[in-house]
């Protein structure tokens, strides 16, 4: 308990377990989601034309019949199109997780190089970077317009404003601090 290093591992482990559990849950429920997906796809006038007669049981049966199909098989063939669709989404998710893991490594490497002296600006600077949620906030506006959800639009607006506070305030205060560090450099040179 006395070793801080250890407790941090515990934390990360906890996060990993949560992620894992999430995946398991997602896994168990994928049938349901696929069902809704195909149903609504039928509603919209898309080129994909799922036979409406196909009952949910059939989809499931079809799935359990295909005993553990692997990545390769599914990617190579599209004779199980619903599966193919899920697989591509799954691959994007997996790639996202890979991005996350690798970025954490980058983060650890670059941040351990920041000297103690600059830890307060680092804190506020990384804080400002977490304002990157502004991207999500802006992108969601279009979705809101599309489905015409006024509350969502309102929430998105507030989110943009909050993220912007974070960004402007964070970078601004970081700049203020950092220019203090470099100002007397210049004075010295002068």
């Amino acid at each position: 308990m006395k070793n801080p290093q250890k407790t941090i591992w515990v934390k990360w482990l906890g996060f990993g377990v949560m992620l894992w559990a999430g995946i398991l849950v997602a896994q168990e429920n994928l049938d349901t989601t696929t069902e809704t997906t195909t149903e609504s796809a039928t509603e919209s006038a898309a080129p994909i034309d799922v036979p409406e007669s196909a009952p949910a049981e059939k989809v499931e049966a079809h799935e359990s019949e295909a005993v553990e199909p692997t990545d390769e098989e599914l990617a190579a063939t599209s004779d199980e199109a619903t599966s193919g669709f899920d697989l591509d989404r799954y691959e994007a998710l997996m790639a996202g997780i890979a991005v996350f893991v690798v970025s954490v490594f980058v983060g650890f490497e670059v941040i351990t190089k920041v000297p103690q002296t600059l830890h307060t600006p680092l804190m506020s600077g990384s804080n400002a970077i977490s304002g990157i949620t502004i991207v999500g906030a802006i992108l969601v506006v279009a979705d809101c317009m599309k489905t015409d959800k006024k509350i969502a639009l309102f929430l998105a607006g507030i989110a943009i404003a909050l993220a912007m506070v974070n960004v402007v305030g964070g970078f601004g205060v970081t700049h203020r601090m950092l220019s203090m560090f470099s100002s007397k450099k210049k004075k010295k040179a002068a």
Partner: protein, 471 residues
């Protein structure tokens, strides 16, 4: 069909993420750090600009352009105003609160983005992974929001946040766990029936969790909490990245997450405490038996005597601590230092990694007062030299110079300290003999080579300056 624009936009997003990485890389030296910050700003402008372009090109908007544009511009304007106001007005001593506040704002933004995107999405787009990521984003974001709020309140010493919950610790832990389980169940249920209103429940639970988790932690432990919440706000942004499927959010979020975790671990290490004991340990001073007689041999001194001592010294080291921040004495110190240097002595500053209430707190304050980067010396760097120091002036530092840390069984045992007691003469400037953050007595104050100068830090330093001028 994937449009060429989409490809270009995605590459620009990736470029923004790369700019963030390079920005933090440039933070590894004060000389390049300003540039690093600019890279970060540029990356953010790029990312936000691309997002706006994507939105403008959106089919559903072409019919009704005014509303979304108005909202975006309005929100950006309001946000910028508030942000600019905060960062230009804040005093450097209020930095910890400000960072906590920004943290909380960031967490809330994550909550709202996930909410908006879940509510706005058509039911068939609510895949399981989106819901899981959304749930994570909401939970972590809400905890960050509320936790940061409490932390900021405690640091600002608002009375409201000093109250303790009238619930025994074990029950509290159990309730927290129950809330966490409830959140997991909510996500599960959302996946089952696609009812996104459960998301609201998650947010509420997250807020309550954020409150119950942070309230019992002492105000002085807030810096650790803030760094941890900083990490959380990054993770929330990462989770949001999974919701809106943008690698740039995932990358930037995990950068922030890593930064927070590293700072947390660093603070814990420098205090020789474990993160768990900070978060769940409660008051630490309770078990420690104090010796009443420690302060029997304390000697007082006056500003004039200190000035005389300084006049004869060849090497003076300032040891600033939290008290310097409270007294806002950094400029006075820097002025005094210049006077001493003009008289031919060398002046250095010994900076303990956790002096003050933030990592690097003292460095920022002294940099504000135009102290040169080269004069700031780290613990490892200056500790071997203390026996060659003529006068160590301890200004509002307490725990970081407490020799009790070398003994077993005290709350700060094992914490590396500045070996101020090895200096030829020690002057300690503080208002009273009261304890510091760790709440324990400091035998240094009663040591043979120590004399105390009681008073507010800034006033005391100015008095010394005046006395020195008159010599």
């Amino acid at each position: 069909m994937v449009e060429l624009n989409t490809v270009i936009f995605d590459i620009l997003y990736l470029l923004a993420a790369v700019l963030f990485i390079m920005g933090i890389k440039k933070m590894s030296h004060p000389r390049t750090a300003v540039l690093g910050n600019y890279l970060g700003i540029f990356g953010m402008l790029l990312a936000a600009g691309v997002s706006i372009l994507i939105t403008l090109e959106h089919k559903s908007i072409e019919n009704n352009l005014m509303l979304p544009i108005g909202i975006i511009i309005g929100a950006v304007f309001i946000g910028t105003m508030f942000g600019a106001m905060l960062f230009t007005r804040v005093k450097m001593t209020e930095m910890p609160q400000l960072v906590a506040l920004f943290n909380g704002v960031g967490g809330l933004a994550s909550v709202l983005v996930a909410a908006a995107s879940l509510f706005a999405a058509e039911p068939d787009a609510l895949h399981a992974e989106v819901l899981v990521a959304g749930g994570l984003s909401g939970l972590i974001g809400a905890v960050t929001f509320m936790g940061s709020g409490v932390a900021a309140g405690k640091l600002q010493e608002l009375d409201f946040f000093k109250k303790q919950l009238p619930i025994p610790a074990i029950v509290r832990h159990f309730l927290n766990l129950a809330m966490l389980v409830a959140c997991v169940w909510c996500v599960y249920a959302m996946i089952g029936d696609g009812n996104v209103l459960l998301y609201l429940l998650i947010c509420v639970l997250g807020c309550v969790l954020g409150y119950t988790l942070t309230t019992p932690i002492g105000g002085a432990d807030m810096p650790v909490v803030i760094a941890l919440l900083n990490s959380y706000s990054g993770l929330a942004a990462s989770a949001t990245g999974f919701v809106v499927d943008q690698p740039v959010l995932i990358i930037s979020g995990s950068l922030v997450g890593a930064s927070g975790i590293i700072l947390t671990s660093l603070m814990c290490k420098a205090m020789n405490r474990s993160l768990l004991s900070v978060l769940f340990g409660g008051g630490m001073a309770a078990t420690y038996e104090e010796d009443d007689g420690v302060y029997a041999t304390v000697k007082r001194t006056t500003a004039e005597d200190v000035a005389l001592m300084v006049d004869f010294a060849d090497r003076v080291v300032f040891v600033p601590g939290y008290g310097m921040a409270v007294a806002q004495a950094q400029n006075a110190v820097s002025d005094l230092a210049k006077m001493i240097e003009d008289r031919g002595a060398t002046v250095e500053y010994a900076i303990h990694p956790v002096a003050g209430r933030m990592p690097g707190h003292m460095n920022v304050l002294l940099a504000e007062a135009d102290v040169s980067y080269e004069q700031l010396r780290t613990l490892e760097d200056i500790n071997p030299d203390f026996d060659e120091v003529d006068i160590a002036i301890v200004l509002g530092a307490n725990d970081v110079v407490n020799p009790e840390a070398r003994k077993e069984g005290t709350p700060i045992s094992g914490m590396p300290i500045l070996n101020v007691d090895e200096a030829r003469q020690v002057v300690v400037i503080k208002r009273s003999l009261s304890a510091g953050y760790a709440g324990i007595a400091n035998p240094l104050f009663a040591a043979e080579n120590t004399s105390m100068l009681f008073g507010d830090g800034k006033a005391a330093i100015q008095d010394i300056s005046t006395a020195l001028k008159d010599l």
